[in-house]
């Protein structure tokens, strides 16, 4: 059976959104505002987009990219 081309080391990156979001003191404030929206709200909305990027990167490198060491010893 051929070894699947999967590189799970990239999965560690998925912790980034968790750290950002669970660290509440870093964003529980009003300033700076963006278009009148307090920081608390726009920062979390921004992380919706950033978490998508993180997942896209992980998907690409872990599952979609050709890998040199596709076979485990």
């Amino acid at each position: 059976m051929p070894a699947p081309r999967v590189n799970k080391k990239w999965y560690w990156l998925l912790l980034i959104p968790y750290i950002a979001i669970l660290w509440i003191p870093s964003y529980n404030r009003l300033e700076p505002t963006a278009f009148g929206v307090p920081f608390f709200y726009w920062y979390q909305l921004l992380w919706v987009v950033l978490s998508t990027l993180v997942i896209a990167i992980v998907f690409h490198f872990a599952h979609n990219a050709p890998q040199k060491n596709s076979r485990k010893p």
Binding site: M1, P4, L14, L15, F35, V37, P38, Y41, Q44, I55
Partner: protein
């Protein structure tokens, strides 16, 4: 009564009804097999899975309740956003793996997996019963969503005559789900999601312009509602409640039977992975919808005499419908309300299918009639899906709405108790099935007692720990109890030297095969099982 809005609403409802029946013809196959009726042959590619999961997870009730919570309590209500940020990285890893093993073995439900992995019909029964109990009130709540918009169109929604539109909508839903299975909500989800996106984009452009910009909207919100309560002294509740609500909801979401059904119907593990990267588009919409709660506050709809009666009947749930009535022209109100109304049909259909699959597979075939044929099994599932839906309808018609809301609250606390059996089970057989069953029971009872101690009004349990107050989502605390019992009893079972039941899965069943992961094509028919 608003005639223009009602005409648009009814026309869109009529359109999706036709679509629901036509859906049976999509990629025509034998709808007498449960794999076809209940999972649409596991054939949904990236785009259709995206519409289906989006239409399934972001329900009508979400669109009503999230802004209602922001409208009522402010910043805490925004936890829906971090919740949906945290759910996808988790699901990316876990549920692609679950899909892979389910595909190899032909599992239809999460309880099927637990049955095969742990060899225990009783643990599988616990998973199935939890799923059914959590799903029933959730379906009932979708009806609450429809009821609020029917009320907002200017119809009286009390009394038997008043409930008639709701009954008609549900009979239609039941009929096309019966005939088309999962294909119907998948097709309708495309319409629903399109309407939702149109409505929300219009709302976040038009309404702030009318209200004088976002700065003015937030200035109208009482300052103490704008941020979470900063910890002071030994009270960390402001942060711990937000954090546990987001985490607990994220971990529970994909364990719900309706989420699992959509996951299993995907055509490949990579189809799912791609979806975890694309589904946050809905989270963005959810975040904007949450902000509608503040817009409703700023617009002052609560004080307007023309909405007083409906606010009295529906409470904060009427905030967004009132805001739409106040801000949009009649024809667009019809579109916006249709988005919410149809938004209730999609999850209600999938939930009833998922509950039917659980009953048929893990209760009927396991304990009542093991000799059931594939055709009988499907027929039974179709009938159970009807029973489930009419049960939910009866619930809303004959019991106070408050019961459905309280049971839904409990549903989340219950659902997460299936996590120890399912998620670690995808990686290891270390846990003993008897220990998991005991942990599940302790989690269920403990979580229910926590909610009961709050009078079923809130799910934020005021925990005191080492002199600190860390109030948090009862589901998370009950889950910790569940894990503690499962671990301790597993060690005890090992020490006693009791035999483990056989495991029907193998390590390789959980890993992608290159040809199966959906790289080449996302819409091919199922491959034959590998084992």
């Amino acid at each position: 009564m608003n005639i223009t809005a009602t005409v648009v609403f009814v026309a869109l409802f009529g359109f999706v009804t036709v679509l629901g029946f036509v859906a049976a013809r999509w990629k025509r196959a034998d709808l007498h097999s449960l794999n076809e009726w209940g999972l649409a042959g596991r054939r949904f590619g990236t785009l259709l899975t995206w519409f289906l999961l989006g239409g399934d997870l972001y329900t009508a009730y979400t669109f009503i309740a999230v802004p209602a919570l922001v409208f009522g309590v402010g910043a805490f209500g925004f936890f829906g956003v971090p919740y949906t940020i945290l759910v996808y990285p988790f699901a990316f890893i876990i549920f692609a793996r679950l899909w892979t093993v389910a595909h190899r073995h032909g599992f239809i439900t999460p309880a099927d997996f637990v049955r095969a992995r742990y060899g225990s019909p009783w643990l599988a029964l616990a998973i199935a019963v939890t799923g059914i109990m959590a799903t029933m009130p959730y379906i009932a709540l979708q009806l609450v969503g429809i009821e609020v918009v029917i009320g907002a169109l200017g119809f009286e929604t009390s009394g038997l005559l008043g409930e008639l539109p709701l009954i008609v909508a549900f009979v239609i839903l039941a009929a096309y789900t019966y005939s088309s299975g999962l294909r119907a909500p998948a097709m309708i989800a495309v319409v629903k999601d399109t309407l939702i996106y149109v409505t929300i984009i219009a709302a976040v452009i038009v309404i702030p312009a009318q209200l004088g910009g976002y700065a003015k909207i937030f200035a109208a919100v009482p300052p103490e509602k704008l941020l979470l309560k900063v910890p002071s002294g030994d009270d960390y509740s402001g942060y711990s409640a937000y954090l546990t609500a987001a985490l607990g909801s994220a971990f529970a979401l994909f364990l719900y039977p309706h989420a699992m059904t959509a996951v299993f119907s995907a055509s490949g593990a990579n189809t799912l992975r791609r979806n975890m990267m694309l589904l946050p588009a809905y989270s963005l919409v959810l975040g904007l919808i949450a902000l509608l709660g503040f817009m409703a506050l700023a617009s002052g709809v609560r004080e307007m005499p023309e909405y007083a009666a409906q606010f009295k009947q529906y409470g904060a749930n009427f905030a967004v419908p009132a805001l739409f009535l106040h801000s949009f022209p009649d024809w667009f109100i019809g579109i916006a309300f249709a988005a919410i109304g149809i938004g209730a049909l999609v999850p209600a259909a999938i939930m009833s299918i998922a509950a039917a699959n659980l009953y048929t597979r893990n209760i009927h075939r396991e304990f009542i009639n093991p000799q059931v044929s594939a055709r009988q099994e499907t027929q039974l599932a179709k009938i159970v899906s009807l029973v489930v839906k009419f049960g939910a309808l009866a619930f809303i018609l004959f019991l106070p709405q408050q019961y459905a809301i309280q049971l839904q609250l409990l549903g989340g606390v219950w659902m997460i108790q299936t996590l120890p059996a399912i998620v670690p089970g995808l990686y290891t057989r270390w846990f003993d099935h008897r220990a998991l069953l005991a942990g599940w029971l302790v989690g269920m009872v403990g979580g229910t007692l926590m909610i009961a101690s709050l009078g079923f009004k809130s799910s934020t349990f005021p925990l005191e720990l080492f002199g600190y107050r860390v109030s948090g989502y009862a589901a998370v605390y009950a889950l910790l109890l569940n894990f503690a019992v499962s671990i301790v009893l597993t060690l005890a079972v090992r020490a006693l030297g009791l035999q483990a039941a056989p495991d029907a899965t193998q390590a390789a069943d959980y890993e992608d095969l290159p040809e199966e992961s959906g790289i080449a094509s996302a819409d091919t028919a199922s491959l034959p099982p590998v084992d």
